[in-house]
Amino acid sequence: MTDAPEKSLFDAPPIAEQERMVEAILFASAEPVTVAEMAERMPHGSDPAEALAYLRKRYEGRGVRLVRVGDAWAFRTAPDLGFLMQKETVEQRKLSRAAIETLAIIAYHQPVTRAEIEEIRGVAVSRGTIDQLLEMEWIRFGRRRMTPGRPVTFVVTQGFLDHFNLESARDLPGLKELRAAGLLDNRPLPGADAAPDDEAEDISGQTELFED
Protein backbone atom coordinates (compact mmCIF):
# COMPACT_ATOMS: atom_id res chain seq x y z
CA MET A 1 0.00 0.00 0.00
CA THR A 2 2.69 2.47 0.95
CA ASP A 3 4.38 2.49 -2.43
CA ALA A 4 1.16 2.58 -4.47
CA PRO A 5 1.05 6.35 -4.96
CA GLU A 6 4.53 6.32 -6.39
CA LYS A 7 3.84 3.54 -8.83
CA SER A 8 0.46 4.91 -9.84
CA LEU A 9 1.91 7.78 -11.80
CA PHE A 10 3.48 5.31 -14.17
CA ASP A 11 1.01 2.47 -13.92
CA ALA A 12 -2.27 3.99 -15.09
CA PRO A 13 -3.62 1.62 -17.76
CA PRO A 14 -3.53 2.82 -21.39
CA ILE A 15 -6.50 5.00 -22.30
CA ALA A 16 -8.00 2.31 -24.55
CA GLU A 17 -8.03 0.01 -21.56
CA GLN A 18 -9.57 2.70 -19.37
CA GLU A 19 -12.26 3.12 -22.01
CA ARG A 20 -13.08 -0.58 -21.71
CA MET A 21 -13.26 -0.24 -17.95
CA VAL A 22 -15.61 2.72 -18.07
CA GLU A 23 -17.70 0.83 -20.61
CA ALA A 24 -17.97 -2.20 -18.33
CA ILE A 25 -18.79 -0.16 -15.25
CA LEU A 26 -21.53 1.82 -16.99
CA PHE A 27 -22.93 -1.21 -18.77
CA ALA A 28 -23.31 -3.04 -15.51
CA SER A 29 -25.23 -0.27 -13.79
CA ALA A 30 -28.87 0.70 -14.28
CA GLU A 31 -28.23 3.96 -12.45
CA PRO A 32 -25.99 6.77 -13.63
CA VAL A 33 -22.46 6.55 -12.21
CA THR A 34 -20.43 9.63 -11.32
CA VAL A 35 -16.91 10.18 -12.58
CA ALA A 36 -15.71 10.11 -8.97
CA GLU A 37 -17.24 6.67 -8.40
CA MET A 38 -15.61 5.36 -11.57
CA ALA A 39 -12.24 6.74 -10.54
CA GLU A 40 -12.62 5.02 -7.19
CA ARG A 41 -13.14 1.65 -8.80
CA MET A 42 -10.52 1.99 -11.52
CA PRO A 43 -6.76 1.58 -11.02
CA HIS A 44 -4.93 4.54 -9.55
CA GLY A 45 -4.06 7.28 -11.97
CA SER A 46 -6.95 6.52 -14.34
CA ASP A 47 -8.78 9.41 -15.98
CA PRO A 48 -12.39 8.33 -16.43
CA ALA A 49 -13.39 11.73 -17.86
CA GLU A 50 -11.04 11.34 -20.80
CA ALA A 51 -12.07 7.72 -21.32
CA LEU A 52 -15.71 8.82 -21.30
CA ALA A 53 -15.09 11.30 -24.10
CA TYR A 54 -13.72 8.50 -26.31
CA LEU A 55 -16.47 6.13 -25.29
CA ARG A 56 -19.20 8.64 -26.05
CA LYS A 57 -17.86 9.05 -29.57
CA ARG A 58 -17.72 5.31 -30.04
CA TYR A 59 -21.41 4.89 -29.22
CA GLU A 60 -22.66 7.74 -31.37
CA GLY A 61 -25.43 6.47 -33.62
CA ARG A 62 -25.51 3.04 -31.95
CA GLY A 63 -28.54 1.31 -30.45
CA VAL A 64 -27.44 2.45 -27.00
CA ARG A 65 -25.96 5.85 -26.26
CA LEU A 66 -23.77 7.25 -23.57
CA VAL A 67 -25.64 10.11 -21.91
CA ARG A 68 -24.72 12.60 -19.26
CA VAL A 69 -27.06 12.98 -16.31
CA GLY A 70 -26.01 15.84 -14.07
CA ASP A 71 -22.48 14.90 -12.96
CA ALA A 72 -22.99 11.24 -13.74
CA TRP A 73 -23.07 9.07 -16.85
CA ALA A 74 -25.23 6.21 -18.05
CA PHE A 75 -25.95 4.07 -21.07
CA ARG A 76 -29.50 4.45 -22.37
CA THR A 77 -31.17 2.94 -25.43
CA ALA A 78 -31.51 5.29 -28.39
CA PRO A 79 -34.86 7.10 -28.24
CA ASP A 80 -35.83 6.13 -31.81
CA LEU A 81 -35.82 2.45 -30.79
CA GLY A 82 -38.34 2.83 -27.98
CA PHE A 83 -40.95 1.03 -30.07
CA LEU A 84 -38.99 -2.23 -29.67
CA MET A 85 -39.33 -2.18 -25.93
CA GLN A 86 -43.03 -2.61 -25.21
CA LYS A 87 -42.00 -5.49 -23.00
CA GLU A 88 -39.75 -3.31 -20.92
CA THR A 89 -42.05 -0.30 -20.71
CA VAL A 90 -42.92 0.43 -17.14
CA GLU A 91 -46.40 1.62 -16.45
CA GLN A 92 -45.93 5.36 -16.02
CA ARG A 93 -47.79 6.68 -13.06
CA LYS A 94 -50.42 9.14 -14.19
CA LEU A 95 -49.52 12.51 -12.78
CA SER A 96 -52.24 15.03 -12.03
CA ARG A 97 -52.20 18.36 -13.80
CA ALA A 98 -51.33 19.99 -10.48
CA ALA A 99 -48.36 17.64 -10.06
CA ILE A 100 -47.07 18.23 -13.59
CA GLU A 101 -47.31 22.01 -13.20
CA THR A 102 -45.73 21.95 -9.78
CA LEU A 103 -42.87 19.83 -11.15
CA ALA A 104 -42.30 22.24 -14.04
CA ILE A 105 -42.33 25.23 -11.71
CA ILE A 106 -39.76 23.58 -9.43
CA ALA A 107 -37.55 22.67 -12.40
CA TYR A 108 -37.62 26.14 -13.96
CA HIS A 109 -37.60 28.23 -10.79
CA GLN A 110 -35.43 26.09 -8.50
CA PRO A 111 -34.67 26.56 -5.72
CA VAL A 112 -38.26 27.53 -5.04
CA THR A 113 -40.39 27.68 -1.91
CA ARG A 114 -43.88 26.34 -1.58
CA ALA A 115 -45.23 29.89 -1.21
CA GLU A 116 -43.59 30.81 -4.51
CA ILE A 117 -45.13 27.81 -6.25
CA GLU A 118 -48.51 28.85 -4.90
CA GLU A 119 -47.92 32.42 -6.03
CA ILE A 120 -47.21 31.22 -9.57
CA ARG A 121 -50.12 28.81 -9.78
CA GLY A 122 -52.51 31.12 -7.90
CA VAL A 123 -53.68 28.22 -5.79
CA ALA A 124 -52.58 26.26 -2.80
CA VAL A 125 -50.30 23.27 -3.44
CA SER A 126 -51.70 20.24 -1.73
CA ARG A 127 -49.42 18.23 0.48
CA GLY A 128 -50.12 15.10 -1.58
CA THR A 129 -48.72 16.70 -4.73
CA ILE A 130 -45.39 17.52 -3.13
CA ASP A 131 -45.30 14.13 -1.41
CA GLN A 132 -45.89 12.34 -4.68
CA LEU A 133 -43.05 14.17 -6.40
CA LEU A 134 -40.74 13.54 -3.45
CA GLU A 135 -41.66 9.88 -3.45
CA MET A 136 -40.91 9.56 -7.16
CA GLU A 137 -37.54 11.10 -6.29
CA TRP A 138 -37.98 13.76 -8.93
CA ILE A 139 -37.69 16.57 -6.40
CA ARG A 140 -35.90 16.94 -3.10
CA PHE A 141 -35.45 19.54 -0.43
CA GLY A 142 -32.91 22.23 -1.19
CA ARG A 143 -31.42 24.75 1.20
CA ARG A 144 -33.63 26.81 3.41
CA ARG A 145 -34.25 30.32 2.15
CA MET A 146 -32.54 32.93 4.32
CA THR A 147 -35.73 34.96 4.72
CA PRO A 148 -37.98 35.24 7.75
CA GLY A 149 -39.40 31.86 8.64
CA ARG A 150 -36.49 30.21 6.79
CA PRO A 151 -38.80 28.34 4.39
CA VAL A 152 -37.52 25.15 2.78
CA THR A 153 -36.95 25.16 -0.95
CA PHE A 154 -37.38 22.43 -3.52
CA VAL A 155 -35.03 21.46 -6.33
CA VAL A 156 -35.13 18.71 -8.95
CA THR A 157 -32.99 15.58 -8.64
CA GLN A 158 -30.65 13.54 -10.80
CA GLY A 159 -33.54 11.07 -11.18
CA PHE A 160 -35.59 13.87 -12.73
CA LEU A 161 -32.82 14.66 -15.22
CA ASP A 162 -32.45 10.96 -16.00
CA HIS A 163 -36.17 10.47 -16.55
CA PHE A 164 -36.52 13.42 -18.90
CA ASN A 165 -33.24 12.79 -20.74
CA LEU A 166 -31.68 16.06 -19.63
CA GLU A 167 -27.96 16.55 -19.20
CA SER A 168 -28.51 19.26 -16.62
CA ALA A 169 -31.25 21.58 -15.42
CA ARG A 170 -29.78 24.18 -17.78
CA ASP A 171 -31.00 22.11 -20.71
CA LEU A 172 -34.68 22.43 -19.80
CA PRO A 173 -36.62 23.25 -22.97
CA GLY A 174 -37.17 26.96 -23.51
CA LEU A 175 -35.29 27.95 -20.38
CA LYS A 176 -33.30 30.72 -22.05
CA GLU A 177 -36.33 32.26 -23.71
CA LEU A 178 -38.32 32.20 -20.49
CA ARG A 179 -35.49 33.85 -18.63
CA ALA A 180 -35.01 36.49 -21.35
CA ALA A 181 -38.73 37.27 -21.21
CA GLY A 182 -38.43 37.85 -17.46
CA LEU A 183 -40.91 35.07 -16.78
CA LEU A 184 -38.63 33.35 -14.27
CA ASP A 185 -38.22 36.52 -12.21
CA ASN A 186 -39.64 36.55 -8.78
CA ARG A 187 -41.67 39.70 -9.25
CA PRO A 188 -43.74 40.60 -6.21
CA LEU A 189 -47.14 42.24 -6.37
CA PRO A 190 -46.57 46.00 -6.59
CA GLY A 191 -47.06 47.71 -3.27
CA ALA A 192 -46.89 44.40 -1.45
CA ASP A 193 -43.25 44.92 -0.58
CA ALA A 194 -44.04 44.47 3.07
CA ALA A 195 -43.30 40.80 3.52
CA PRO A 196 -44.80 39.23 0.42
CA ASP A 197 -44.09 35.82 1.90
CA ASP A 198 -46.52 36.41 4.71
CA GLU A 199 -49.25 37.29 2.28
CA ALA A 200 -48.72 34.19 0.25
CA GLU A 201 -48.83 32.23 3.47
CA ASP A 202 -52.16 33.85 4.36
CA ILE A 203 -53.75 32.97 1.07
CA SER A 204 -52.55 29.41 1.19
CA GLY A 205 -53.90 29.18 4.69
CA GLN A 206 -57.30 30.19 3.46
CA THR A 207 -57.40 27.91 0.50
CA GLU A 208 -56.40 24.84 2.47
CA LEU A 209 -59.89 25.00 3.92
CA PHE A 210 -61.44 24.38 0.57
CA GLU A 211 -59.22 21.63 -0.65
CA ASP A 212 -60.28 18.08 -1.36
Binding site: A28, A104, V123, A181, F210
Partner: protein
Protein backbone atom coordinates in the same frame (compact mmCIF):
# COMPACT_ATOMS: atom_id res chain seq x y z
CA UNK B 1 -73.39 19.04 -12.06
CA UNK B 2 -76.22 21.35 -13.35
CA UNK B 3 -79.56 19.65 -13.14
CA UNK B 4 -82.37 20.31 -15.61
CA UNK B 5 -84.14 22.97 -13.58
CA UNK B 6 -80.93 24.97 -13.50
CA UNK B 7 -80.23 24.72 -17.20
CA UNK B 8 -83.78 25.87 -17.81
CA UNK B 9 -82.73 29.28 -16.61
CA UNK B 10 -80.63 29.60 -19.73
CA UNK B 11 -83.42 28.77 -22.12
CA UNK B 12 -83.83 32.37 -23.19
CA UNK B 13 -80.19 32.55 -24.28
CA UNK B 14 -78.77 31.45 -27.57
CA UNK B 15 -77.64 27.88 -27.88
CA UNK B 16 -74.03 28.97 -28.30
CA UNK B 17 -74.13 31.10 -25.17
CA UNK B 18 -75.76 28.30 -23.28
CA UNK B 19 -73.13 25.78 -24.33
CA UNK B 20 -70.37 28.15 -23.33
CA UNK B 21 -71.99 28.83 -20.00
CA UNK B 22 -72.50 25.14 -19.36
CA UNK B 23 -68.93 24.41 -20.23
CA UNK B 24 -67.81 26.92 -17.65
CA UNK B 25 -70.16 25.66 -15.04
CA UNK B 26 -69.33 22.05 -15.61
CA UNK B 27 -65.65 22.83 -15.45
CA UNK B 28 -65.71 25.08 -12.46
CA UNK B 29 -64.48 22.35 -10.18
CA UNK B 30 -61.80 21.49 -12.69
CA UNK B 31 -60.24 24.92 -12.49
CA UNK B 32 -57.12 25.13 -10.50
CA UNK B 33 -58.03 28.37 -8.76
CA UNK B 34 -59.01 31.85 -9.90
CA UNK B 35 -55.77 32.47 -11.83
CA UNK B 36 -56.45 29.38 -13.92
CA UNK B 37 -60.01 30.58 -14.54
CA UNK B 38 -58.74 34.01 -15.55
CA UNK B 39 -56.28 32.42 -17.95
CA UNK B 40 -59.08 30.42 -19.57
CA UNK B 41 -61.28 33.53 -19.83
CA UNK B 42 -58.42 35.52 -21.33
CA UNK B 43 -58.33 33.13 -24.30
CA UNK B 44 -61.63 34.54 -25.51
CA UNK B 45 -59.82 37.83 -26.15
CA UNK B 46 -57.70 36.10 -28.79
CA UNK B 47 -54.74 38.42 -28.22
CA UNK B 48 -51.21 38.07 -26.98
CA UNK B 49 -51.27 37.87 -23.21
CA UNK B 50 -48.98 40.90 -23.16
CA UNK B 51 -51.65 43.03 -24.81
CA UNK B 52 -54.58 41.68 -22.91
CA UNK B 53 -57.23 44.09 -21.64
CA UNK B 54 -57.29 43.54 -17.93
CA UNK B 55 -60.41 45.67 -17.65
CA UNK B 56 -62.24 43.43 -20.09
CA UNK B 57 -60.95 40.35 -18.26
CA UNK B 58 -62.15 41.72 -14.93
CA UNK B 59 -65.62 42.21 -16.41
CA UNK B 60 -65.64 38.66 -17.82
CA UNK B 61 -64.63 37.26 -14.46
CA UNK B 62 -67.24 39.24 -12.57
CA UNK B 63 -69.88 38.15 -15.08
CA UNK B 64 -68.85 34.55 -14.53
CA UNK B 65 -69.16 34.92 -10.79
CA UNK B 66 -72.60 36.52 -11.17
CA UNK B 67 -73.75 33.69 -13.38
CA UNK B 68 -72.49 31.13 -10.93
CA UNK B 69 -74.37 32.91 -8.18
CA UNK B 70 -77.52 32.88 -10.31
CA UNK B 71 -77.08 29.12 -10.67
CA UNK B 72 -76.56 28.93 -6.93
CA UNK B 73 -73.15 27.32 -7.47
CA UNK B 74 -71.02 27.58 -4.40
CA UNK B 75 -67.74 29.22 -5.30
CA UNK B 76 -64.71 28.66 -3.15
CA UNK B 77 -63.62 31.66 -1.12
CA UNK B 78 -60.51 32.38 -3.17
CA UNK B 79 -62.69 32.84 -6.27
CA UNK B 80 -64.71 35.44 -4.33
CA UNK B 81 -61.56 37.12 -2.99
CA UNK B 82 -60.35 37.45 -6.57
CA UNK B 83 -63.76 38.81 -7.62
CA UNK B 84 -63.60 41.49 -4.92
CA UNK B 85 -60.05 42.40 -5.90
CA UNK B 86 -60.97 42.62 -9.60
CA UNK B 87 -64.03 44.78 -8.81
CA UNK B 88 -61.73 47.12 -6.94
CA UNK B 89 -59.20 47.11 -9.78
CA UNK B 90 -61.97 47.76 -12.30
CA UNK B 91 -63.20 50.82 -10.41
CA UNK B 92 -59.63 52.11 -10.08
CA UNK B 93 -59.01 51.62 -13.80
CA UNK B 94 -62.19 53.49 -14.71
CA UNK B 95 -61.64 56.42 -12.36
CA UNK B 96 -59.05 59.12 -13.06
CA UNK B 97 -55.96 58.49 -10.95
CA UNK B 98 -55.96 60.15 -7.55
CA UNK B 99 -52.58 61.86 -7.20
CA UNK B 100 -52.87 61.81 -3.40
CA UNK B 101 -53.47 58.06 -3.23
CA UNK B 102 -50.80 55.86 -1.70
CA UNK B 103 -49.71 52.54 -3.03
CA UNK B 104 -49.40 51.12 -6.50
CA UNK B 105 -51.29 52.60 -9.41
CA UNK B 106 -54.14 50.73 -11.04
CA UNK B 107 -51.95 50.29 -14.11
CA UNK B 108 -49.21 48.64 -12.04
CA UNK B 109 -51.74 46.27 -10.53
CA UNK B 110 -53.16 45.45 -13.93
CA UNK B 111 -49.67 44.90 -15.33
CA UNK B 112 -48.86 42.54 -12.50
CA UNK B 113 -51.99 40.50 -13.13
CA UNK B 114 -51.06 40.29 -16.80
CA UNK B 115 -47.57 39.14 -15.78
CA UNK B 116 -48.99 36.46 -13.52
CA UNK B 117 -51.18 35.16 -16.32
CA UNK B 118 -48.33 35.16 -18.78
CA UNK B 119 -46.08 33.37 -16.30
CA UNK B 120 -48.68 30.73 -15.54
CA UNK B 121 -49.23 30.22 -19.26
CA UNK B 122 -45.47 29.91 -19.80
CA UNK B 123 -45.20 27.30 -17.05
CA UNK B 124 -48.07 25.33 -18.60
CA UNK B 125 -46.29 25.28 -21.91
CA UNK B 126 -42.98 24.36 -20.30
CA UNK B 127 -44.69 21.50 -18.45
CA UNK B 128 -46.17 20.24 -21.71
CA UNK B 129 -42.77 20.37 -23.42
CA UNK B 130 -41.21 18.59 -20.50
CA UNK B 131 -43.76 15.79 -20.55
CA UNK B 132 -43.33 15.42 -24.32
CA UNK B 133 -39.59 14.73 -24.02
CA UNK B 134 -38.12 11.30 -24.54
CA UNK B 135 -38.70 9.69 -21.21
CA UNK B 136 -36.83 6.95 -19.43
CA UNK B 137 -38.95 3.82 -19.27
CA UNK B 138 -41.10 4.94 -22.22
CA UNK B 139 -38.74 6.06 -24.97
CA UNK B 140 -35.32 5.27 -23.60
CA UNK B 141 -34.35 2.39 -21.39
CA UNK B 142 -31.83 1.63 -18.73
CA UNK B 143 -29.76 -1.53 -18.46
CA UNK B 144 -32.14 -4.38 -17.78
CA UNK B 145 -29.64 -6.84 -16.43
CA UNK B 146 -27.69 -4.68 -14.06
CA UNK B 147 -24.86 -6.26 -12.15
CA UNK B 148 -24.59 -5.58 -8.50
CA UNK B 149 -21.40 -4.02 -7.35
CA UNK B 150 -20.12 -6.29 -4.64
CA UNK B 151 -18.84 -4.46 -1.63
CA UNK B 152 -15.65 -5.96 -0.36
CA UNK B 153 -14.67 -4.87 3.07
CA UNK B 154 -11.01 -4.91 3.73
CA UNK B 155 -9.76 -4.33 7.21
CA UNK B 156 -6.38 -2.72 7.55
CA UNK B 157 -4.85 -2.66 10.96
CA UNK B 158 -2.71 0.28 11.74
CA UNK B 159 -0.39 1.34 14.47
CA UNK B 160 1.96 4.25 14.69
CA UNK B 161 5.51 4.23 15.97
CA UNK B 162 4.15 6.17 18.93
CA UNK B 163 1.69 3.35 19.69
CA UNK B 164 4.52 0.88 19.53
CA UNK B 165 6.80 2.83 21.84
CA UNK B 166 4.04 3.59 24.28
CA UNK B 167 3.14 -0.09 24.40
CA UNK B 168 6.71 -1.01 25.14
CA UNK B 169 7.03 1.71 27.75
CA UNK B 170 3.82 0.46 29.33
CA UNK B 171 5.18 -3.07 29.66
CA UNK B 172 8.47 -1.89 31.10
CA UNK B 173 6.91 0.47 33.61
CA UNK B 174 4.54 -2.25 34.69
CA UNK B 175 7.57 -4.45 35.46
CA UNK B 176 9.19 -1.66 37.39
CA UNK B 177 6.49 -1.36 39.93
CA UNK B 178 5.49 -4.96 40.25
CA UNK B 179 7.59 -5.67 43.41
CA UNK B 180 5.98 -2.77 45.20
CA UNK B 181 2.43 -3.49 44.24
CA UNK B 182 2.57 -6.98 45.71
CA UNK B 183 -0.06 -8.87 43.89
CA UNK B 184 -1.75 -11.59 45.91
CA UNK B 185 -3.97 -12.52 43.02
CA UNK B 186 -1.15 -14.53 41.50
CA UNK B 187 0.03 -16.28 44.65
CA UNK B 188 -1.29 -19.68 45.66
CA UNK B 189 -0.37 -20.34 49.28
CA UNK B 190 0.64 -23.70 50.74
CA UNK B 191 -2.35 -23.53 53.09
CA UNK B 192 -4.66 -23.24 50.12
CA UNK B 193 -2.86 -26.14 48.40
CA UNK B 194 -3.14 -28.28 51.52
CA UNK B 195 -6.85 -27.68 51.79
CA UNK B 196 -7.28 -28.51 48.18
CA UNK B 197 -5.19 -31.71 48.29
CA UNK B 198 -6.88 -32.96 51.47
CA UNK B 199 -10.25 -32.54 49.83
CA UNK B 200 -9.25 -34.27 46.61
CA UNK B 201 -6.95 -37.10 47.78
CA UNK B 202 -9.87 -39.18 49.03
CA UNK B 203 -11.17 -39.58 45.48
CA UNK B 204 -7.95 -40.71 43.85
CA UNK B 205 -7.36 -44.39 44.46
CA UNK B 206 -4.45 -44.84 42.07
CA UNK B 207 -1.26 -42.94 41.19
CA UNK B 208 -2.13 -39.51 39.81
CA UNK B 209 0.18 -36.83 38.53
CA UNK B 210 0.68 -34.01 40.94
CA UNK B 211 0.26 -31.53 38.08
CA UNK B 212 -3.37 -32.57 37.69
CA UNK B 213 -4.09 -31.23 41.20
CA UNK B 214 -3.37 -27.64 40.15
CA UNK B 215 -6.42 -25.49 40.78
CA UNK B 216 -8.56 -24.39 37.79
CA UNK B 217 -7.43 -21.17 36.18
CA UNK B 218 -3.85 -21.44 37.42
CA UNK B 219 -2.42 -23.46 34.55
CA UNK B 220 -2.15 -20.78 31.87
CA UNK B 221 -0.38 -17.72 33.16
CA UNK B 222 3.24 -18.77 33.82
CA UNK B 223 3.47 -16.83 37.09
CA UNK B 224 0.31 -18.33 38.49
CA UNK B 225 1.31 -21.77 37.27
CA UNK B 226 4.66 -21.53 39.02
CA UNK B 227 3.12 -20.38 42.27
CA UNK B 228 0.46 -23.08 42.23
CA UNK B 229 2.95 -25.80 41.32
CA UNK B 230 5.29 -24.84 44.13
CA UNK B 231 2.49 -24.63 46.69
CA UNK B 232 0.99 -27.95 45.62
CA UNK B 233 4.38 -29.67 45.72
CA UNK B 234 5.10 -28.30 49.18
CA UNK B 235 1.65 -29.41 50.31
CA UNK B 236 2.25 -32.93 48.97
CA UNK B 237 5.51 -33.17 50.96
CA UNK B 238 3.64 -32.05 54.04
CA UNK B 239 0.92 -34.68 53.55
CA UNK B 240 3.56 -37.41 52.93
CA UNK B 241 5.27 -36.38 56.16
CA UNK B 242 1.94 -36.76 57.92
CA UNK B 243 1.63 -40.24 56.37
CA UNK B 244 -1.53 -39.48 54.41
CA UNK B 245 -0.10 -39.96 50.90
CA UNK B 246 2.72 -41.61 49.06
CA UNK B 247 4.90 -39.88 46.48
CA UNK B 248 6.85 -41.35 43.63
CA UNK B 249 8.97 -40.18 40.74
CA UNK B 250 10.41 -42.61 38.19
CA UNK B 251 13.55 -40.56 37.43
CA UNK B 252 15.00 -37.08 37.73
CA UNK B 253 12.69 -34.42 36.26
CA UNK B 254 10.00 -36.99 35.50
CA UNK B 255 6.44 -36.13 36.56
CA UNK B 256 5.71 -36.58 40.25
CA UNK B 257 2.71 -38.76 41.13
CA UNK B 258 0.91 -39.16 44.40
CA UNK B 259 -1.71 -41.53 45.82
CA UNK B 260 -3.57 -41.94 49.02
CA UNK B 261 -1.72 -44.08 51.51
CA UNK B 262 -3.85 -47.08 52.37
CA UNK B 263 -3.80 -47.57 56.12
Amino acid sequence: MPDTSETNLFEAQSVADRLQAEALIVDVEGFEGPLDLLLTLSRTQKVDLRRISVLELAEQYLAFVDRAKALRIELAADYLVMAAWLAFLKSRLLLPPDPAADGPSAEDMAAHLAFQLERLQAMREAAAQLMARDRLGRDTFARGLSEEVARVRKVVYTASLLDLMQAYARIRTRDEFRPYAFDRRDVFTMEQALDRLRGLIGFAGDWTELASYLPDGWGGDPKRRRSATAATFAASLELAKQGQIEIRQSETFAPISIRRKTP
